[in-house]
Amino acid sequence: MNIIRTSAGASPVSITLSLALLAGLYLFPRFVQSPYALHIMILIFLSVIMGEAWNVIGGYTGQYSVGHAAYFGAGAYTTMILLQYKQINPWYGALVGIAVALVVSLIIGSICFRLRGPYFVLASIAVAEIMRLCAMNLKDLTNGAEGILITEIPPLKFGETVITDFLTKVPFYYIGLTIAIVTILVTWWMQNSKLGYYFQAIREDQDAAHSLGISLSLFKSTALAISAVFTSLAGSFYAIYIGFIDPPTVLALDISVQIVLICIIGGIGTIWGPVVGSLVLVPLSEALRSNLIAQGIFKMGLASEESGVGIFLKEHLSHAHALIYGILVVVVILFMPDGVLGWAKKLAAKKGKG
């Protein structure tokens, strides 16, 4: 049947579950001290922020920007440059980064939104590449290909009280978690407001939307601006957390594609899609990179570590992580066109029927 429930009324069960999950996430660092586990969680939060941000323009408004590295890089570079030359605390630098990303989004929007479909995609890639080349060549400002490295982060202060001094990963965990939750809440608010309706109308049919009193330029720019703000915040957060940026790590096409994949894998145009996508992609890419899979194969006794196959796996599997990652992405796109979330929902619906 084609019936769907439109009113997104939250049931008591789902509210309780979300609150429990939230409490669990906030208590997590108390029980797990492993820096590696915290690192993975922080990467997941970062990925959720980027995914939810792209979802606003790509998922809801249907404008497939493959140039989101532009905003990610704008946030990262603004923060780092201000810290390096003006010693401005990066947490304020991040706010300036948002302003810069907003301006960039308005400029990019005014150019690219004249185009539709694949032409918009190409234009968005082109603009991000221009930004990357600028960062490479404006050496006085960005250090060019050398990148910017910071060794210590000024403590976050409220008045004179030091809130945290960033000596461990724990403060990053909480900041990442909080920003991720804020992006999810903003997406939820947007979906249940006039903006959400207008964005989706533009996604479904631009001309029809235009005829119903929706200003395409205004609402596409608004969607891109919201998206740019959070992507830039993610960029700043990444820069502060890692402490080093250069054009290939924050402005490259890889970043843009990665951001899009989070949504495609999870499920485009849904609140939880980017979360699911992040939960799949981040651990997967980490596992592939760190040779966990080869070790798993040895542990399960599928191949011995000393055998020819074992040596081959140990030596080459981690190098092939991009290949395996790519194959998995293709498989998901082929067999789960609505993403993992859409696939799970369909499965649940089938079970409910049978």
């Binding site: 109308a201 479904e204 029809a208 235009h210 005829s211 009193g213 929706i214």
Partner: protein, 241 residues
Amino acid sequence: MTPILEIKHVSKFFGGLAANSDVSFSMDEGMIMGLIGPNGAGKTTLFNCITGYYPPSKGDVLFKGQRLNGLQPDRVCRLGMVRTWQKVRPLTKLSVVDNVMVGALCRTNSLKVARELAMEQLKVVRMDHKADFIAGGLPIGERKKLEVARALATQPTLLLLDEVMGGLNPAESDEIIQLILDIKKAGTITQMVIEHDMKAIMRISDRIVVLNSGEKLAEGTPAEIVSNPEVVRAYLGDFHA
């Protein structure tokens, strides 16, 4: 009384091709204007010129005395003129009521008010029982009605219907005809209707404009139009005229 819509010497060129050339007519409030003509006569192009999708190459479009040339379709809609599409354009992944709400949100910022307005319009086209269905799954007859409901939800004073009966079976066509007459009876909305079904257009129109090869061929009451030899020639060829 100023006419609600005045079209003055409107021409639209695509390169060297004149899709409309020097078309003029005007519409009074509350009437139903029929717009007919053979395929390729420029009816839809004229709709696009009136509603802001194309700026006319020459001439003026005046809505309640205000010149519209160059205004974007969304502004035109906010002024109170809305069109439907010959090739229906449902927002396929949204539900029926959400589709109509998008129209209603033109006049309100509250989703609650928009939902009430949308349900009202769905009752008008007798589709309220399908409110929660996904628009993409509707058959063509209901898509056409959804198109009308969504346009009505923007609370227009002038409604332009582009072949709402195209592709419908006789029962469905009758329903749409009744709907158009009901809208007229309610009295607040003026309508312009493009239609190929001659029986239907003769029944509902107060006046008819005939386009042929982009030019206005004739204008008059339905009775005048059917007896106009020029019109007969355009449709049926010289032999019948």
